[in-house]
Amino acid sequence: MAAAAIRIDDLVFRWRPDAAPAVKLAKLTVDAGKSLFLHGPSGAGKSTLLNLLGGVLLPERGRIEVLGQVLGDLPAARRDAFRADHLGFVFQQFNLLPWLSALDNVLLPCRFSRRRAQRAGEPDAAARRLLAALDLDAAAHGAPAGELSVGQQQRVAAARALIGRPEIVIADEPTSALDAARQDAFIDLLLGEAKAAGSTVVFVSHDLRLAAHFDEKLALTVGADA
C-alpha cells in the first residue's frame, strides 16, 4: 500500500471563535501519486481547506499530515518553507506576476526553494519543456504574462505548480475561466504532467462534470461531515 500524501483527521476550522465552522472534515486520506476531485458548492470551505493544506492557516481542532509531517508541529517560517519545497498551487485566476515573462513565472518556485530547483535539474530547460508539454508556443515563453490569454495563463500557472516535481499539486478551480472544450484538455494536460512527475493532485471544483478525470472523489458540504 502506497504511503499517504495527505491525511486529515477530525478537522475543524473557524474564522472566528463564535462563527460556524468554515471547514469540518472527519477524515481524508490521499495516497501518493493519486488524484483527488474535491467537490463542493461555493461557501463549502474549499479555499479555506487549501489554505489549511498549504499551512497558511492552522486548524482549530484535528490534525493535518502532509507527506508524513504534521503541519501544526512546525513553526510558521518552517511551514512557509515546507510549502515552497513540496507544494505547487494553481488558482482560479490571476496566478501570475503580470510584469514577469511566462518563463520567469514558471521559474519562481525554483527561486524560492532550493529543493525544487535541484529536482528540476536544469530549471530553465525544465520550464521550457513543461511549457511546451502544456501546449504553450515557444514564442509566448518570453512574453510578459499579462499579455497572454486566460487559457495560456492557466497553462503557465500549471507549469509553475509542476516545476521541480513537488509531491503535491493543489488546483483551486483552475478551469472555471475556460470554456468547456478547453477545460477537459487542460485537466488532461495537468494530470498527465503530474503523473509524469509523480505528484499527488488535489483538484477543487464545483463542477461535477469534471470528476470523471480523477482517481478519487470527495464531496465537501457546508458545515457537515464529509
Partner: protein, 419 residues
C-alpha cells in the same frame, strides 16, 4: 530571501511612475532640508565671523546688541555719538594695543559710508583672523579719497579712479547731497562675505570736511566752503560713532571693559563683539527655526505621499502578495518587503537630495547671491548625516503603515485574495 528582493525590485519597477513621483517629492524634501541646514550654518558662521580679533567695541551708552548692530553691521538706529576727547583718553590706556575710530551717518547710493583711519585696514580682522586685502588700489591718504567694499564696487561697476559723491543720512531725502565735494575711488577691497563688502570707507577728516558748511544736519543756505579750501580748517572730528579696540593681552578684556564702563567723561558702553553677536543671532534666530520647521513639514508631506502611494497600491498588490505566499513567502516577508520598499525610496531620496544640494551649490551659487546669500556651501555641514539618517528612519517608519496593512490583509486573504 534574495528571491524576494529581486521580485520586490521587479514589482517596484512595474509601479515606477507612482513610486518615481513619490521619490521625487522625498528627494525635493531632502534637498530643501539639506540646503536650509547648510545656508543656516553658513549664515551663522559668516555672521559670527563678521568681526574677529577685536576685543571690544566701544560706543555711547546703549544696549550691546544695538551698538554692535550699528558699529559692525551699519544697521539699525544710530546709538548716539561719543566725544573725540573721550576716545583719545581711553585709547591711551596702556592695556590697549590699538584702536580704530568709526564714524557713520552718510551713505552712497544706499551703501553706508564709514569714516575711519587708515589703521582700519591694518587692524580690522574677519573670519578666522583674516586681514582685509585690496583687490586693486590702496588705502586712502588724501581727504577726498574713498575705498570701496567688494560688493559696492561690483554692483555699481566702479573702478579705481571713479569719482563719486556722498549723500547725507541714508540718501532718502532730496537735496541732501554732498555733491560739491566729490570723492575719488583709490582702492577696492577683496570680498570678505561681511558688512565690509557693503561699505564705502573714507577718512575721518573727510567726514568733517563735507559737513563744514552744514549745521544741525542740513546745508546752510547761501553758505558754502569749497573743496579746495577745506584744508585751511581744523578737520579733527568733534565726535565719532564708535571705536574698535584690540588689547595686548586678551585676559585683560573684562578689566578694560569695566574701566570704560566707569569712564568719568561720559557714559560709555564696551561690548565683547562675540557675546553681542551671539545675542543678536538669538534675536534673529526665529527665522532660521521657522525655515527649519518649514522644511521638516515639507518632508512630512513627502513621506505622507509615500505612504499614500503605497497604501493605494496595496489593493492591486493583494494578488501579488498572495502569489508570493503560495510560493513560500511568510507574512513577515511581506512585512519586510513593504518596509524595504519605503526604505529604499527614502534612501534614494536622501542620496539624490544630497546630490541635488551639491549641484545647487556648484551651479546655483550665482543665483543665490541675488538673495543676499554669499553662497551655498559645497562642504557637507555638520549634522547633515544625522539629518539624512532621520529622514531614512522616518521613511522606514512610514513604510510600517502599508506593511502592517499588508500583514493584516494576508491574514484574511491567505493564498486566495478576496477581491
Amino acid at each position: 530571501m534574495r528571491a524576494l528582493l529581486r521580485l520586490a525590485l521587479a514589482s517596484a519597477w512595474n509601479r515606477r511612475l507612482g513610486l518615481g513621483l513619490t521619490l521625487l517629492s522625498v528627494m525635493l524634501a531632502a534637498t530643501l532640508l539639506l540646503s536650509v541646514e547648510r545656508v543656516r550654518q553658513a549664515a551663522r558662521a559668516s555672521f559670527a565671523q563678521s568681526v574677529s580679533a577685536t576685543d571690544l567695541v566701544v560706543g555711547a551708552r546703549s544696549s550691546p546688541v544695538q551698538l554692535v548692530l550699528h558699529a559692525v553691521f551699519h544697521l539699525g538706529e544710530p546709538t548716539g555719538n561719543l566725544g573725540w576727547d573721550s576716545y583719545r583718553k581711553i585709547a591711551a590706556d596702556p592695556a590697549i594695543a590699538w584702536s580704530v575710530p568709526l564714524s557713520l551717518g552718510d551713505s552712497h547710493r544706499g551703501y553706508p559710508v564709514l569714516g575711519t583711519t587708515p589703521d582700519y585696514f591694518v587692524h580690522f580682522r574677519y573670519g578666522d583672523r583674516q586681514p582685509l586685502s585690496f583687490a586693486s588700489g590702496a588705502a586712502f591718504a588724501g581727504i577726498f579719497e574713498a575705498v570701496l567694499g567688494a560688493e559696492v564696487a561690483a554692483r555699481l561697476g566702479y573702478r579705481v579712479g571713479e569719482r563719486i559723491t556722498l549723500s547725507h543720512g541714508d540718501g532718502g531725502l532730496a537735496g541732501m547731497e554732498h555733491e560739491d565735494k566729490p570723492f575719488t575711488v583709490v582702492g577696492i577691497l577683496a570680498p570678505t562675505g561681511t558688512p565690509v563688502d557693503r561699505s564705502v570707507h573714507v577718512g575721518l577728516a573727510a567726514i568733517e570736511a563735507i559737513h563744514l558748511d552744514w549745521i544741525g544736519g542740513a546745508p546752510v543756505p547761501g553758505f558754502s566752503i569749497g573743496a579746495e579750501v577745506v584744508q585751511k580748517f581744523d578737520l579733527t572730528p568733534k565726535s565719532i560713532t564708535a571705536f574698535l579696540v584690540g588689547l595686548h593681552r586678551r585676559g585683560e578684556v573684562f578689566a578694560v571693559q569695566r574701566r570704560i564702563g566707569a569712564f568719568a567723561g561720559e557714559p560709555l558702553t564696551a561690548v565683547l563683539p562675540g557675546v553681542a553677536l551671539d545675542q543678536l543671532w538669538q534675536s534673529v534666530g526665529f527665522a532660521e527655526r521657522a525655515l527649519q520647521v518649514l522644511s521638516w513639514l515639507v518632508l512630512a508631506v513627502g513621506l505622507a505621499g509615500l505612504a499614500a502611494t503605497m497604501l493605494a497600491g496595496l489593493d492591486q498588490r493583494r494578488r501579488e502578495l498572495a502569489i508570493l505566499r503560495s510560493l513560500g513567502a511568510g507574512r513577515r516577508h511581506l512585512l519586510a518587503l513593504l518596509v524595504l520598499e519605503s526604505g529604499v525610496v527614502s534612501l534614494l531620496g536622501c542620496l539624490l537630495g544630497l546630490a541635488a544640494t551639491t549641484l545647487l551649490a556648484l551651479f546655483g551659487a550665482g543665483r543665490l547671491a541675488a538673495f543676499g546669500l554669499s553662497a551655498l556651501p559645497l562642504t557637507v555641514a555638520a549634522g547633515e548625516m544625522q539629518l539624512l539618517a532621520a529622514v531614512l528612519v522616518c521613511g522606514l517608519l512610514v513604510g510600517l503603515l502599508p506593511a502592517w496593512r499588508a500583514y493584516r490583509l494576508s491574514l484574511a486573504d491567505g493564498l486566495t485574495p478576496r477581491c
